[in-house]
């Protein structure tokens, strides 16, 4: 990430998103036109564009993290200030996020334990709800959020949250080792860290990737019986919808129209 900032000639700690954007546009201005040239020139230009895009995304992410950390620090400061002045019962300006802000910081440790227990049970919706109710966005909070995203196979979001956790507490071994494992897995996947598409990744469910981030994630092969021992699939929604589309197409061929809007 340091290299990315150097390429755009920006300062890592003070660059804003606008500055980054102008620097990025300036850097790729030349290559954007060369892109459509045939032969070597064109391919080289495309490669350069991809490279710059990667650096840009890196920097943007880093700035996001820095801003998130700063806002978190600011809100925490506000919270503790208001706690000193005994005005937190009135809600305070910084703590309009959730309704049970009063109990959040005192019950924080207990809440994290309950969230991780729910995650272990694979009850992700309740875990997410519980996590949302905790208003103190500490490193542990981001770590647990990244675990929930990871279990939902949203690797990009999971990595983002893990980044935040690592940035907040760089000395914590749990977060940094999880981060290392995650980036190693990302490299294995072969598409870098930019899987900007949430949702399940195809064949991952059925094949087991040796991954020992297994404190929270016990992904074993054949774990979900329903994936394998399916009964007759003639009544799924997909079959019904497909059948209707086919019927509509045939109808339109004959001159009628079953589904008028398509």
């Amino acid at each position: 990430m340091r290299d990315s900032f150097e390429i755009f000639n920006l300062n890592k700690d003070t660059a804003t998103k606008d500055e980054l954007y102008t620097a990025y546009r300036a850097a790729i201005a030349d290559y954007e036109f060369k892109r459509f040239e045939p032969g070597e020139v064109g391919t080289e230009a495309c490669e350069k564009l991809d490279e710059f895009k990667k650096y840009y995304n890196d920097c943007k992410q880093s700035i996001d993290v820095r801003e998130a950390v700063n806002t978190q620090k600011a809100t925490d400061e506000q919270y503790y200030k208001s706690a000193d002045t005994q005005s937190y019962f009135t809600g305070g300006n910084a703590y309009n996020r959730s309704s049970n802000s009063q109990s959040s910081s005192y019950g924080a440790a207990a809440d994290f334990n309950s969230v991780s227990a729910l995650i272990k049970k694979s009850d992700l919706d309740s875990a997410q709800k519980e996590l949302n109710s905790i208003s103190g966005r500490t490193a542990e909070w981001h770590y647990l959020q990244s675990v929930i995203y990871y279990k939902r196979h949203w690797t990009a979001e999971s990595k983002q949250e893990l980044n935040l956790a690592v940035e907040m507490e760089p000395t914590n071994p749990k977060y940094s080792s999880a981060y290392r494992k995650m980036s190693a897995q990302g490299a294995q996947n072969g598409n870098g860290s930019y899987t900007y598409g949430s949702g399940q990744q195809g064949g991952e469910k059925r094949s087991y990737q040796a991954d020992d981030w297994d404190n929270y994630d016990n992904r074993r092969s054949y774990r979900n019986e329903s994936d394998y021992r399916r009964g007759s699939s003639t009544n799924t929604a997909c079959n019904c919808c497909t059948a209707l589309c086919c019927a509509d197409t045939c109808c339109e061929c004959m001159g009628g129209d079953c589904i008028t809007c398509c």
Binding site: S207, R220, E225
Partner: protein, 301 residues
Amino acid sequence: MFGYVNIDRPNILFKDYNLYKAYYCGLCKTLGTRYSLKARFSVNYDITLLTLLAHNFQKTECQIAHERCIAHPVGRKFCVVQNDAVQEIVADINIILGWYKLCDNVIDGETKYKAVKAVFAREFKKANARLPEVAEAARFGYERQCKMEERAKSAPMDNEAAIKAYVLRLSAPFSEIMVAAGIAACKSADDGLKRLLHDLGAWVYIVDAADDLYEDTKNKKFNPFNREGQVLTDGFKAIIKNIAFETLSLLEHNIRCEYDAMDITVAEGCLSNVIYLGLSAKREEVLSRIGEEKIKKPKLR
């Protein structure tokens, strides 16, 4: 031995199937080299599961080579797990357990197995010398089971709960045998493994009882689900099916929980398939034809 603990063949990935067969073939070869040619006939899939678990606990990755199969003399070579210390122990356990099963059959009155016993006497003597504690546990277990079955012949079959309770009690000696085998095979057997094997033993006993219900009623042999003079009516079959289903599901659930807590690094796919899918598949198959005659179906590819 019994052949109930197996993979779910329609729902296994080929890489896992290949590895599973490799372990099975490895055992066959080990039995051949360690004992004799005829000992190879005793290889079965139940003991393959034990090999897989044992390799896990000793954390030994196997070496695989391509070798010929004596049962398939022409054609390609197959993947076979090379011999190692773990496999040798499991081979010994296999001989011992097979021997005591033969003894049990002879006591039950099937005299044809006396000849088989005579054939395997020398192998058993060797195995007995190598693993005396397993032999003793097996002998004691089968003896206890015999006595319990004698007493259970007169037990009342009033309500479902009572039947479930004593069926589980009857399976206890067999579970103990399984646990003893597991402790011998896996060097650092912990409580989780013992519980898993205990429940697996109970599962095998009950599935075997459900499977043999028809034959035992016909031949007037003891079956935990049946009594002297009981006729296999449809209503009775439905009740037994329900009892068996509940007990087996509970045992499967326990096994699954124990397995989840284990640290599996070697042959994870095969083990997971057996435990998550294989047991349920076998249970469903057996319960669908409970109380009916066994028809030999052609095996899937």
